[in-house]
Amino acid sequence: MDPLLTFIVILIGFYGLATSTNIIKSVFCVTIIESGVILLFLNMGNLDGGRIPVDIIPDTLIADPLPQALMITTIVIGSTVTSLSLMLCIKVFHHFGSVEWVDVLGMERGR
């Protein structure tokens, strides 16, 4: 059941991406999708409910360590994407005076 709930988190992120008019909100929507994906991985790695994969006792059920290891990578990647896009937001604000998509994309330099 848990994977279904986490999939809803991902869908909420996409709903936000398709409706939010502000760049910073869009950045947070990508973060929400990323959190949803992380939760989905962790839940999918533990469908039959086991112990943490540390110091295991033989012949007991454990949670799958691979999705957990992969998610550490994804968290680091996600944090870099967030930091880079927030820095770009600051720069966009300095150049256009706004972080609304309409103001930013509507302005065209030159002709």
């Binding site: 760049i23 869009s26 990508v30 999708i33 990647i77 870099t80 994407v81 770009l88 002709r111």
Partner: protein, 535 residues
């Protein structure tokens, strides 16, 4: 010898770090040394393994294939590696004596090369994700490198759209892991025919393809490409349009190979996606006035033509698409670099303000004309070969042939428009003596001509594909080309030049970020209906 594939990834990364740390102007010669070393390694590697690709498999740590990460090469990845090395050679030469070639730029460029070579060779789904995300971040930084308002805007648009696309790819990966217990591409490919009918496998295919579609700018989700490739510096635009966007198409080939046992019958669907990409790209391209925007929209349309070939399960058509990837990389890089030289001299981006380029810069103009003849598919130039292969293989269907012909007419129209820059009197421009960009242009132009004339031995030697059924000195080929050119000229003279309102409306249409995501969700829904619900 098998470990050369690792060196091809490690050497550029290491060089990048040394460039960043060692603060001396002579350090930029180091890039050429590294590049030379990598070229020699790649040639030796190819000579060693050219007839036994299975032994290029290298599993890190000597673990079980299903557990560890592995690298593998075959004809396709090897040809991509040579293309990568050639493109980076030319871009490094092009930027050699300009202000651009400072240390930070070379650092990002060399790191990007290492990452891209890793993406080409990896045999593991999650490793693919890591490399895809790394290319996304590096490309974002390179787009924003100019630090103008336009480039920041394009970069933030690019990173948000692509990051969410790649995360969708990742959802597909976890489903595959739960079904197969491994994320090795080869192992999944062997095991997939037993469960190919399962809903979860089909949904994973949909999600992965959606992520790849964003990365390779297919029809509904291409809106980031013209923004990003239009505003970056010319050398970077050439690299992005010529090479990096092909990373997405390469992933498309690999994932489709992996799912080939599942009988998904994706050929027809992706053919029409490709056709829509080609038509829409051309429509936007003919309406633009900015020279780099024209070229960027043509990248979209040429990707569509590539997809029309690659989607086919039939090998000949697939091969036409594959060849068009290489041809497009060569002539589009040539055009972008040439446009960069002209923009620098004329200090304007608008086609209507550039006149008399031929008299001002004859050498650059000749190279540009080679590029234009190639992209419009003139016989004796490389674009002709791959377009003809695709044309022959879809001859049975009238609709498909007409789509391809229409795209050719559109391409001809917009390059007739662009060729107006050559006419007119000589213009006094800033005299920039820059021999190195001429060398880079010459390299790409020679590659275009050589591939257009000696395609039979090259194709036979590299892929073992017999192409002698394509003949250049063929009346039909010349006739078709000139008909397309003539119609293109008429359309240009009577419709485009008048700048009617619909054309202005197409030019001024700017898809917002929300609608780009809206169509992305719609694309995923359409794909799930086609691949999951209907069967």
């Amino acid at each position: 010898m098998a470990f050369f594939s690792v060196l091809l990834i490690i050497i550029p990364v290491f060089t990048a770090l040394v460039i960043y740390l060692y603060k001396h102007s002579a350090v930029k010669y180091l890039t050429f040394i590294a590049q030379l070393a990598m070229t020699i390694l790649a040639v030796l590697y190819y000579r060693e393994f050219s007839d036994q690709w299975a032994s290029t498999l290298i599993v890190f740590g000597d673990w079980d294939l299903r557990i560890g990460i592995s690298l593998i090469n075959d004809e396709i990845s090897m040809s991509f590696i040579f293309l990568t090395l050639f493109s980076f050679w030319m871009v490094l030469i092009y930027t050699f004596d300009t202000r651009q070639s400072n240390r930070t730029f070379l650092f990002f460029l060399m790191f990007l090369q290492g990452v891209f070579l890793g993406l080409l060779q990896t045999y593991d789904l999650f490793n693919m994700f890591v490399f895809l995300e790394l290319t996304t971040i590096l490309v974002t930084i390179l787009i924003a490198f100019k630090k103008s308002g336009d480039s920041f805007r394009a970069a933030v648009y690019y990173i948000l759209l692509n990051a969410s696309g790649v995360l969708v790819f990742l959802i597909g990966v976890i489903i595959m892991y739960n079904v197969f217990g491994t994320i090795n591409v080869g192992v999944i490919g062997e095991a997939i025919d037993s469960v190919g009918e399962a809903t979860s496998v089909r949904f994973a295919y949909v999600l992965m393809m959606a992520g790849i579609a964003v990365k390779s700018a297919l029809f509904p989700v291409f809106s980031w490409l013209p923004k990003a490739h239009g505003v970056a510096q010319s050398a970077i635009s050439a690299l992005l349009s010529g090479l990096i966007v092909k990373g997405g198409l390469y992933m498309f080939i690999r994932i489709n190979q992996m799912f080939s046992g599942a009988n998904l019958e994706s050929g027809e669907f992706f053919f029409y996606v490709g056709a829509a990409t080609a038509v829409v790209g051309v429509l936007f391209a003919v309406s633009q006035k900015d020279i780099k925007q024209i070229l960027a929209y043509h990248t979209v349309s040429q990707i569509g033509i590539v997809m029309m070939g690659l989607s086919s399960p039939d090998f000949d058509t697939f091969y036409g698409g594959l060849l068009h990837i290489f041809n497009h990389a060569l002539f589009k890089s040539l055009l972008f670099l040439g446009a960069g030289v002209i923009i620098k001299a004329y200090r304007t981006k608008y086609v209507s303000d550039m006149r008399g380029v031929f008299k001002t810069m004859p050498a650059v103009s000749i190279f540009m004309i080679v590029g234009m003849l190639s992209i419009t598919g003139a016989p004796l130039f490389n674009g002709f070969i791959s377009k003809t292969i695709i044309k022959y293989s879809i001859e049975d269907s009238t609709l498909k042939s007409w789509i391809l012909f229409g795209v050719n007419i559109g391409t001809a129209t917009s390059f007739i428009k662009m060729s107006q820059i050559f006419f007119g009197p000589r213009r006094m421009t800033l005299r920039l003596y820059a021999p190195f960009d001429r060398i880079a242009l010459m390299g790409f132009a020679f590659a275009c001509v050589i591939l257009g004339n000696f395609y039979i031995p090259i194709s036979d030697g590299f892929f073992g594909v017999e192409l002698s059924y394509i003949s250049v000195f063929n009346f039909d080929a010349f006739f078709d080309y000139f008909v397309a050119l003539a119609i293109g000229f008429l359309i240009y003279y009577f419709i485009i030049k008048k700048d009617y309102r619909p054309i202005r409306m197409i030019r001024e249409y700017k898809p917002s970020f929300q609608s780009a995501n809206f169509v992305f969700i719609m694309f995923v829904v359409v794909m799930s209906v086609y691949f999951v619900l209907i069967p």
